[in-house]
């Protein structure tokens, strides 16, 4: 039952990723701005890592966790940069930057000294997710108290869709990674892996669908990110 569900949801997750990648390529061709280029690079990397993992291209000692330990900090850096750029308040920007450097440091410590290179650095990953949730809240708080907010049509605002996707994906990942770590520690992962997998793919679908909508909104109106 869960294997069927897993299969049923894994395919749309990959499709959602590929669709986002294609739209980001179109956006890059049309706008040729820095944000589109970075999104395109990120999605190229994502597709490469995800599909490569699915085809076991990166498997070393029966695991491909090491590639995610490299890719995840890159992904965090991109989103943190996006929020850093879109938050004009100096204090918030400073905090975001300090948070990112602290995250890098924690990733190194976690990967090298706590969980090991061949294991997924879940502690650092959860920290990164929390940092991104903080960025989304900062961003939300800033725009909520800005008078120009009236000029923004929420549903047509690209950053709105990016934030929804980031919040749901990384908020869900905090829970999923804690869940994952708990069941790994209690040796029950095999039982609950299908549930975990279904949820993880569902979160991917939400994130990439939101990113696709955001790119389409950007293509439609072409305001700045």
């Amino acid at each position: 039952m869960f294997n069927f569900l897993k299969l049923l949801i894994e395919a749309p997750a990959y499709i959602a990723e590929l669709v986002a990648f294609v739209i980001s390529a179109i956006l890059l061709i049309r706008t040729r701005n820095k944000e589109s280029l970075f999104f395109f690079i990120l999605l190229t990397l994502t597709c490469f890592v995800e599909l490569g993992s699915a085809y076991q291209l990166f498997t070393i000692k029966k695991t491909n966790n090491w590639i995610f330990n490299i890719f995840n900090p890159i992904e965090f850096s991109f989103y943190v940069w996006l929020y850093y750029k879109n938050t004009p308040v100096a204090l918030y920007r400073k905090r975001i930057l300090i948070g990112l450097f602290a995250l890098y440091l924690f990733y190194i410590i976690d990967t090298l000294f706590i969980q090991g290179v061949l294991y997924l650095s879940t502690y650092a990953y959860i920290t990164g997710c929390i940092l991104l949730i903080y960025c989304v809240f900062n961003f939300y708080q800033y725009w909520l108290n800005t008078i120009t907010v009236t000029a923004i049509k929420v549903m047509q605002w690209p950053m709105f869709w990016v934030s929804i996707g980031v919040f749901i994906f990384f908020g869900g990942e905090v829970f999923l990674m804690s869940y994952f770590q708990y069941f790994l520690n209690t040796h029950k992962m095999e039982i609950l892996f299908p549930v975990w997998s279904v949820l993880s793919n569902l979160l991917n679908i939400i994130l990439y669908t939101c990113l696709s909508i955001s790119f389409l909104m950007q293509l439609k109106s072409q305001p700045k990110y």
Binding site: V149, T150, V154
Partner: protein, 267 residues
């Protein structure tokens, strides 16, 4: 335990069920947070919109107020100029003509005509000066001011102007009286300039709550759905709104125009 009783499940399936319940709960929680923040954002947007609208309205009100004040100052200056300068010169010209008439034994008829023309011009200018002077408008009641304006129009003999009053004359606040009068003046000017009318009817009705004034003409009319570039009608409506009233313009091509104004008394 609870799940085992109701579903008679193994420990494994119970754990899966708990996992699913927790996961669904997580999705609902995240979704709920997102909806809450979107709702708050939209609410804040609406609040900002209302604030901006109020600021805009206040700005328009202040701007219109200044415009009226400047106009009144200009009118007073013109009125003063007519009285002190043009009026004096015409009076002097009239006196000089009288002297010339006396000195000439057989005064030519042209001289007599010129004297009459000067007397008429002097009277007309005095009437204009009176209706431009704010202090004088404040001294008289609304019916008296309008009557002066109607008399002046009828004296020109270019147009027939009828004036009727319904209800007992009510005292009005100076600001409201002045603006209501200027609105009617503006309406009359519009008729004279654009309507090609031969008749104007002005009716004022002193109701319990407010003053209703109607100005109608039998002119060429216009299509109200077509936006005009002129500011006359817009000014009439804006001024009425400024003092808490309203103005409704109705017109049809070849069927004349009617402007209905409702103004509170504000004593």
């Amino acid at each position: 335990m609870f799940i085992n009783i109701f579903f008679d499940a193994t420990e494994e399936s119970a754990q899966i069920l708990i996992g699913i319940i927790i996961s669904v709960g997580m999705i609902f929680l995240l979704g709920g947070i997102v909806f809450y923040f979107i709702a708050k954002f939209i609410k804040k947007q609406k609040e900002h919109e209302v604030e901006l609208k109020l600021i805009k309205q206040e700005f328009e009100k202040q701007s219109l107020q200044s415009q009226i004040e400047i106009q009144e100052q200009t009118f007073n200056a013109i009125s003063q100029e007519i009285h002190d300068n043009v009026g004096q010169m015409l009076s002097l010209a009239k006196v000089q003509m009288n002297i010339a008439e006396e000195q000439l034994k057989n005064s030519p008829s042209h001289l007599k005509d010129a004297k009459e023309n000067i007397t008429r011009a002097l009277d007309d200018l005095r009437d204009i000066a009176k209706n431009l002077n704010t202090d004088r408008i404040e001294e008289l009641d609304f019916v008296q001011i309008l009557q002066t304006e109607v008399d002046r129009l009828n004296k020109i003999k270019k147009i027939e102007c009828n004036f009727s009053v319904i209800g007992a004359n009510r005292k009005m606040g100076n600001k409201h009286k002045l603006i209501a009068f200027r609105i009617i003046q503006e309406s009359i000017n519009n008729i004279l300039k654009h309507a090609n009318a031969s008749k104007i009817n002005i009716t004022i009705n002193f109701t319990k709550k407010e003053l209703n004034a109607t100005i109608t003409d039998n002119g060429i009319g216009f299509n109200t759905s077509v936006k005009s570039n002129g500011l006359g009608l817009q000014n009439i409506i804006k001024r009425a709104i400024l003092i808490g009233g309203n103005a409704i313009v109705k017109s049809e091509i070849d069927k004349g125009t009617s402007i209905a104004i409702n103004i509170p008394y504000e004593q």
